[in-house]
Symmetry: D3
Subunit: 334 residues, 6 copies
């Protein structure tokens, strides 16, 4: 079993049922998630040994968050407790041409306000094979950003594989950090890059097209700017509307371009966390298969997440394999 460590905010997602607006009903349902948590849970469901580091409040909400991670097999022995509340968001689920909308309540959360200096990173990285980070964490607070940098430096020292998903979200980054500079520093400590022209343009102030050529060229620029990066994986999405997407993934390994088949999700169940499902599928794939198979595995994992309610991908390795091997009809298994 491979050991993986993740670090990032545990978020509670609260939403009215179905496509209702919050004002329409006093019934809600909730899931715990958060981008790195989603990756952690998916990797645990795929049979890996995953530890998640974060902070939760010292009350029944924090306990419920911790229990949720335990339920899905994630090691929570290094969760810290806090007097600040859990970050959360409300989600109204759209349909067709109506967008889903999110209302965040995370700016003074247990994770954002945590003192990352007290984390025992050596213990966290004990025996670890892989560390995954995303651009959300450094966007939340100075403490989170510095904690992540420290983690990356130690992981680098320990020769742990590092995947970066440096998505930039403009509406975060409220605390005053310089996003380009900070993300650049963090990418410079990583070896697997998850992203494409959009993310690379954001990092390098470039302007590559988001097509296959743009992908290859931007990857070359990225690797020349950040030589530690040796592989780039990118998922591309075509949205017919909120219920109907198509995804297709590509990889640049420094020499060659690989592309997957396109998968079509005609009746999306839940769109949240599909990027995290890609990342988790990719990390699992890179730890257990060759790169090209890993890419296909990640693409299929991402597609399958569109059929799972909640933020984290709960499908099994067998289910993903079936899709990789072309099983797309969803026939009942008795």
């Amino acid at each position: 079993m491979k050991k993986i460590m993740t670090f990032g905010e545990i978020l509670m997602r609260i939403s009215p049922l179905g496509n209702k607006k919050l004002v329409q009903s006093n019934q809600l349902e909730y899931y715990f998630g958060g981008t790195e948590v989603n990756v952690a849970i998916s990797l645990a469901q795929l049979g890996n040994d995953v530890k998640h580091v974060a902070a939760v409040p010292e009350d029944f909400v924090g306990e419920a968050a911790k229990s949720f991670l335990n339920q899905y097999g994630v090691d929570t022995s290094m969760l810290m407790t806090s007097t600040y509340p859990l970050g959360l968001y409300f989600l109204e689920v759209g349909a067709i041409m109506r967008s889903s909308t999110i209302s965040y309540n995370r700016s003074h959360s247990a994770f954002a306000m945590m003192n990352s200096e007290i984390i025992d990173w050596d213990l966290a990285f004990d025996d670890c094979d892989w560390f995954h980070w995303t651009g959300i964490t450094p966007a939340l607070s100075k403490g989170a950003s510095q904690g992540l940098k420290k983690a990356l430096q130690i992981a680098k020292d320990k020769n742990i594989s590092i995947s970066a998903d440096p998505a930039y979200r403009a509406n975060l980054w409220q605390y005053g950090g310089n996003s380009k500079e900070i993300l650049g520093e963090l990418v410079g400590l990583s070896d697997t890059f998850i992203g494409g022209p959009n993310e690379i343009n954001e990092l390098l102030n470039t302007n590559f097209e988001n097509d296959v050529n743009g992908f290859v060229v931007s990857c070359k620029h990225l690797i020349s700017a950040f030589p530690s990066i040796n592989r780039v994986f990118d998922k591309t999405r075509v949205s017919v509307n909120a219920n109907w997407h198509k995804i297709k993934s590509r990889m640049w390994d420094g020499k060659e371009l690989y592309e997957t088949e396109e998968l079509e999700m005609t009746h999306i169940v839940d769109r949240i966390g599909t990027g995290d499902a890609f990342a988790a599928g990719l990390i699992h794939g890179l730890l257990h298969y060759k790169d090209q198979k890993a890419l296909q595995f990640a693409n299929a994992a991402c597609a399958l997440k569109h059929t799972i309610e909640g933020d984290a991908n709960l499908v099994t390795e067998n289910e993903i394999e079936l899709v990789v091997n072309g099983g797309l009809t969803g026939r009942i298994k008795r």
Copy 2:
């Protein structure tokens, strides 16, 4: 803020969950609606000052109906109370080729049995910019029909804009009124006509095709029969099946024909009230934009209603504008 007045039955819609049949489960959910109510709520959600006139029972059901309108910003200060019950309908929601079915309980409702003579129309129309009526109201009872006629005459006298949605429903009109004669009289007091060849044929005993040419010709006939009418707006619908529709709208302003793009609703959430959403979008559009933009706005409002649960359209002006401007992918707004 524009002031709008509506008059019509508040109906309670009660349905089993999802696509269940009533017999399958003892769980239900309810919404308040009714065609004119739906228009009122949608207009209030778009930021207008809307007053609705109707009658509700003097008990907790009536109170709940009134609170519902208040919740969505509609002025209920002129709701009357009654010893008759609220009109209601049960809805079983179909799918694909199975039709939704409705069972009405409204023939002796608070609205149908109301004494419309006691309504203070001057107060109701105080400062009013627009009055909207539909063919449902005169179909319910003699009292409702006479009240509506009185309202139209007063509105006309006050130079208030009047939109007519004179849809004819054969299974109403139980009280013995002559539908053609009555609807004609009412249309003759209106200036904006919402409908197309089907509705015009019904009114004029004509037989125009429901296509673009038929639309233009029928509009000309309509205007020549009812010279007060100066604009005709029509929404056309193509139904693949119960879950998948396409809509496209057209307008005749006495001189020219305008048509919108077709919008496709591939995963309909709720089909009820989409015509009312068109009317509300249109009235809002005509009050705030030029006619052609109003047509597009109405078409987009109608499309978006297919994504909203319940009878009334709860989308915002921004959401409609986004669709008018071609934003159809339903991307998550964080």
Copy 3:
């Protein structure tokens, strides 16, 4: 198996969940009931062969009502269909000192508007052992009242046992019938009377106290006024509050007074239909046991109904027997 016939309105009960007010949530749950229906269902659950005669709408609401009776074993072969809707009521469930409140919608229902003349009473009473009626039916409409009178006359002719539960509800009787006169006529055709001083005072314009002495004296007056009555059964209730009641029953058989133990319901689940449960328990008891045992059985059946959700009593003969025999601790049965 004994054969029993009942005649009365099938009502749909719709209520918000728990103790919520209608305005607080758009979730509802429903049951079918109605006083005579409740008696019918309870008697069928106790193993009797029960036929119910009524009218339901010819749509999915009527179908659901019919299926509900079938589900609980009641013969619906003589249900008529109607173009009028099903009678229904909304119920907000109170607690402690807050009353439950009911909003009726039944004045123009399928049952109230039915033409009772077309009922084939000979078929309905075929092989019948017992007919039960209540004071609700003659209160609903002239047609219902006349139908019931006809039924009683035929039952009398056929020497079928007849139980009368002539409860008077002032807020019904809207159609102009003289309640005292009509109820008197109907009681005069019955042999088992369910009621006590309150009901007798209503019938005879007397003023007996509602205590044991008053019961005996009022029974004597009743029997002397209506010589066909040979037994009187009465349930008395002490209400601590909406959640906590005590019941105790008594019987006058023309010669002697019998009384049961008092049963205490400290945590009432559902108060509706407990009188009907008494009636059903009594009829079952009188058909299968001696009078005194029947009284105890009825009292226990009534007590147990307070633990059952919905309008009708769904307990088994064994469960009632257990209570009759003093088993009051509600111990888990594995």
Copy 4:
């Protein structure tokens, strides 16, 4: 009214809501079903007189199963009781390319463990027009298999029409019975065969293609092997994914091939029991119409079942007729 008898296991289906996995929520919903039960219920809903023979536990679960069949109009007077539990299955509902998965708990159920020798087949077949069986029953236990054979022999003797749906499910047949031999014997007692090349290949150890030619040739082989068979009906399904199927049916009557139009289910509500809906539609069709109409009726019934929650098809004859006549748009019926 035609009289039909069915014999087979009543199964309880338990599933989390929507597309949730069992681990995600402690809310469940349940339906009763089972392949022959589904046929029975659908035939009763279509207005036929249907009796179902099976065994249920002698407790509230068995009572609920029996009440469910009564609710939908199936005669349960010949249900036996057992000390074994009701067979059941858990269902996680998939979407798009994720399969639905089923977890069975039926190997020691009331039906599988029943002593079929005590069934009074003469009573069961009293006045019967049609008997339907499927390949599930002989796969469950020796007792079930022998009971079915006995039933078929008696039905044959009584000249009752017999339809066979001899689907082979490899994961059943745990008790050691020789499936080919047993199914062959049972088919040899039947006259209407529901199945195509797949089922015929299984029976005859042949290898026909599952296309139109293969269908005709395999039918000829089938009839030559089992001369009692005079008609073969087959439904073919194309699965885009778990939410989107197309069906089309064909028939060989010994002389000619008939095919229906293809029906497309773009938004499947519930996939379970669609084969049973075909069988029920077919039996109803063969009892009331000519063969070719019966085929169309069965195809439309099957399509409509995809819109109904639960295992059994609850649509009406009118709804099926509408689809047979090309009404596919699912327009609201008011």
Copy 5:
């Protein structure tokens, strides 16, 4: 109609269903509340004209909060919008000897972070008869505290009646304000004091017993310390356990002591907001009745709130009157 103004945080209450712990189910239900909001809603339900001043986020959560107040008849025209999230709390509902527990997320809420200087108090107090405040508001932030003080000074200048409910909650007051000093200043601007020995001890650093004598003596001390106070109203509670409370209220009007009967709530539905229900009942009573009747009205309103789900008291004046007049049996109202 009397006009009342309230100022205080709108809180969202989110809780698992029934007595579940958060970890046990992903279903939640929510209500909006907050101590001053609860008072506002209850006063509006009693027929008063109530305006509430607060801040909500400028998104769908804020819109839902505003709609909730509108639904229950509270004027929200002076709600401000904010970029901070709505304050909220999670509630796990206890039973018997298990306490309900609350987890707050309000320290950086829209209300706590609001700039109260921009509030147009003259507009807010236009035509106002009564202003009510509680000790929660000054505990939340410096801005809230200063806003409240400003409001009180203006209300005082305008001779508006002012009721103070200066409950002290130790776990609030995180921003560094001196609670005793601030509460004292605010009480010194008020005329009606809601509280008893506990609250007075907190304010005056005294140590009076919480019994009748202690109440009278403490009231005298209070009035001598804060001469603007002319009446003191106190509700006392005896808790058998979490489900079973008794309340009784007392008043000191500077000269005499009045006490109510004790009311017993044997089956509490919802304990939250019962103090606010007392305050609202009191204000309504003082505005419409004599003091002693007001006290009884407040006591009965408080008792009835224990039967209402959610934070705010939704009972009617009639329901309260019934309890004041001794109607405690909760008999069904048909």
Copy 6:
């Protein structure tokens, strides 16, 4: 942290909501439990290191059961998988004098059918401080019984403390084992006995009264028959009805009798698993406190379980301590 091992069937509990009967609604909710599982979960919630040994099916039902234990902190690393289904039971929840009823489906479950010989008991007992068993396990099957005996022998050899809860359930023991003999053998390997006169009479064929004297005398007999037993703990229950119980516990330590106060549960939320809560509280108490405090702790834990939904006690050590210290009013904790 103390280490505890438990061995016993994981059962799924499925029940309709509230007090509904199964037939009344198709909505269900489920929990995992089982007597030893309940003890394991409660001990884990109290902060102990608990491992549970059992068998679950190798499918999503088994996965969900395992995840449930993980969620509540129980080590599932030694769960075996099986091709048999999970044992389960349906529960209809009674009220007042109506009993809850249970329908089991466990006779051929994964646990009952497991091959206990393959369990690595040395690994299971690694570092273990306490082993707890109940009389359910040896009642299920020969394999379960033999596995338990083996476990006890090894635990005895390792000087692990052993608690016995040898409740006898007559309706289990279907496989032919001699219950008295087997339970005696198992008790003879234990040191802490949980039970009183009822259980001792069952074991010793004696006839002691279930009162304090009977308790002491029976304890003496027990210890003389099974000298390994050194302490006896017994919980006594008085049931007013299904909603209202009182419990009080006693202990005999070979020399002295201790008794607790009586705790009264006036509004029971869930009665299931309260005995297991007593056992878990006791084991925790004996591992961390003196015997008399342990007895009080167990009694309070048992009382608190009556307020928790589901089978296992989810209260914290603090909540139990509060009750031990007399905190019975259930005051809200903010």
